[in-house]
C-alpha cells in the first residue's frame, strides 16, 4: 500500500465520520423538542464534523497554502458558532420557546423570580440578570 493510498484511506475515514456527525445533527434537530436542545444538535457535532472534513481535505492538499486556508475556516467557525448558538438560545429562552416540563432545574427562572420578588419588596425596578448584557459594554465594571 503506497503513501498516497494511505492518505486516501485516511480521507475516506474522516469524511465518513464528518458525514455521520452531520446525520446525527440532522436527526437531533428533528427529534429534540425545543429550540434550546435543538441548538445543541444543530451547532455542536458540526464543529467536530467540520474538523473531520477539514482534516480529510488537508490530507489531500498538495501544498501548504491550501492547508493554511483551512485554518481560518476552522478558527472563524469556532469563534462564531457559540455566538450564534447563544443568540438563538437566548432569544428562545426569552420568548419562552422551551419545554419546562423537560427541565430538571431552571436556575435562571429562579433568579428572575427572585429579582421580581426583591423589586416588589423594595418597590423598585427588578434587577434582572439578563438585562445587564444589553447595556453598553464599554462602561467599566463598578
Amino acid at each position: 500500500m503506497s503513501a498516497a493510498e494511505l492518505l486516501d484511506a485516511g480521507s475516506v475515514l474522516f469524511l465518513f465520520a464528518a458525514a455521520l456527525l452531520s446525520l446525527a445533527a440532522g436527526i437531533g434537530i428533528v427529534r429534540f423538542p425545543d429550540p434550546l436542545s435543538r441548538m445543541h444538535a444543530a451547532t455542536k457535532p458540526q464543529i467536530l464534523g467540520l474538523v473531520c472534513a477539514l482534516v480529510a481535505l488537508g490530507l489531500q492538499a498538495e501544498n501548504g497554502a491550501t492547508v493554511a486556508a483551512l485554518v481560518p475556516i476552522l478558527a472563524f467557525q469556532m469563534l462564531t458558532a457559540p455566538v450564534s448558538a447563544h443568540m438563538v438560545g437566548r432569544a428562545g429562552y426569552r420568548t419562552r420557546h422551551l419545554r419546562r416540563d423537560l427541565l430538571l432545574r431552571d436556575e435562571l427562572a429562579d433568579a428572575i423570580d427572585k429579582a421580581h420578588a426583591d423589586a416588589a419588596h423594595h418597590d423598585v425596578e427588578p434587577d434582572l440578570p439578563g438585562l445587564v448584557t444589553d447595556e453598553d459594554t464599554s462602561t467599566p465594571r463598578p
Binding site: 437531533g28 455542536k44 481560518p72 436556575e107 439578563g130 448584557t133 465594571r141
Partner: protein, 209 residues
C-alpha cells in the same frame, strides 16, 4: 516626570495590545496564502488601521501566558470535544427518548471579561452545554445543559465548567484571578494552584487587607 509616565503607560498599552495585532497580521497572511514583504507590510498597516477605526474597549490582558497550561487546555478541550460530540450524536438517535435538561446558574471566580468570554466560548463549543444568558456584573453564566437526569449530573456539569475556567486562568489569568481560585481551593481544603514567589507575595498582601 508625568510625561515620562504616560509614555511608559502608552508603551505598555501597546505591548498588551500586541497579541491582537499579531493575530490580525497572521490572519491576513492566512487569507492570502503566501508570505511576501508586501503581504506582511499591508497586513501590519491594515491591523493598525482596523484597531484604530473599529475601536473596541481594550482587552485586559494579564501580560502572562503559560505555554504548558495553554497546551493542557487545548488537549483537554480536544478530548472533551470528541467525547461530547459522540455523546450528543448518540442522544440525538437514542431510541429511549429525548434527554432531560437543566438551566444552571454557574458562579465563576473571575471578574475578568476576557476569561469569562473565553470560558463561555469554550463550554459553548463543547456539545451538551450552551450559554443562554450572561450576568457580567456578578460573573454568572446561565448554562443550558443537555442530558441531566439527576442532581449528580447537574453537579458534574457545574464542576466541568469551573475546571475549564481554572485551566484558562492557569494559562493567562492575572494574579488576582489565581488568588480568587486559590481562596476557594484553600477553603475546600485543596492545594492552591500556581504558587510562584510573586503569586505568594500578592496573596499574602491581599489576605492581610
Amino acid at each position: 516626570m508625568s510625561g515620562r509616565i504616560t509614555e511608559i503607560g502608552r508603551w505598555q498599552g501597546f505591548l498588551l495590545q500586541l497579541p491582537l495585532l499579531v493575530w490580525l497580521v497572521v490572519l491576513w497572511l492566512l487569507l492570502w496564502g503566501h508570505v511576501t514583504v508586501i503581504s506582511v507590510l499591508t497586513g501590519i498597516l491594515l491591523a493598525l488601521l482596523v484597531t484604530r477605526i473599529f475601536y473596541l474597549p481594550p482587552v485586559d490582558l494579564s501580560g502572562r501566558f503559560s505555554v504548558y497550561w495553554g497546551l493542557a487546555f487545548a488537549w483537554h478541550f480536544a478530548v472533551d470535544l470528541v467525547r461530547a460530540s459522540v455523546l450528543v450524536a448518540w442522544q440525538a438517535i437514542d431510541p429511549r427518548g429525548v434527554p432531560v435538561n437543566s438551566v444552571l446558574a454557574i458562579q465563576l471566580h473571575t471578574r475578568s471579561d476576557l476569561i469569562m468570554t473565553l470560558t463561555a466560548e469554550a463550554i459553548s463549543l463543547v456539545p451538551g452545554s450552551l450559554v443562554v444568558e450572561v450576568d457580567r456584573e456578578r460573573s454568572l453564566l446561565y448554562v443550558h445543559a443537555l442530558g441531566t437526569p439527576d442532581d449528580a449530573a447537574v453537579e458534574r456539569v457545574r464542576h466541568s465548567v469551573l475546571v475549564v475556567e481554572e485551566r484558562i486562568v492557569r494559562t493567562l489569568g492575572s494574579e488576582h484571578d489565581v488568588w480568587l481560585i486559590n481562596r476557594e481551593r484553600r477553603a475546600a481544603g485543596r492545594p492552591p494552584i500556581r504558587l510562584s514567589a510573586r503569586q505568594r507575595r500578592y496573596e499574602e498582601a491581599r489576605e492581610g487587607e
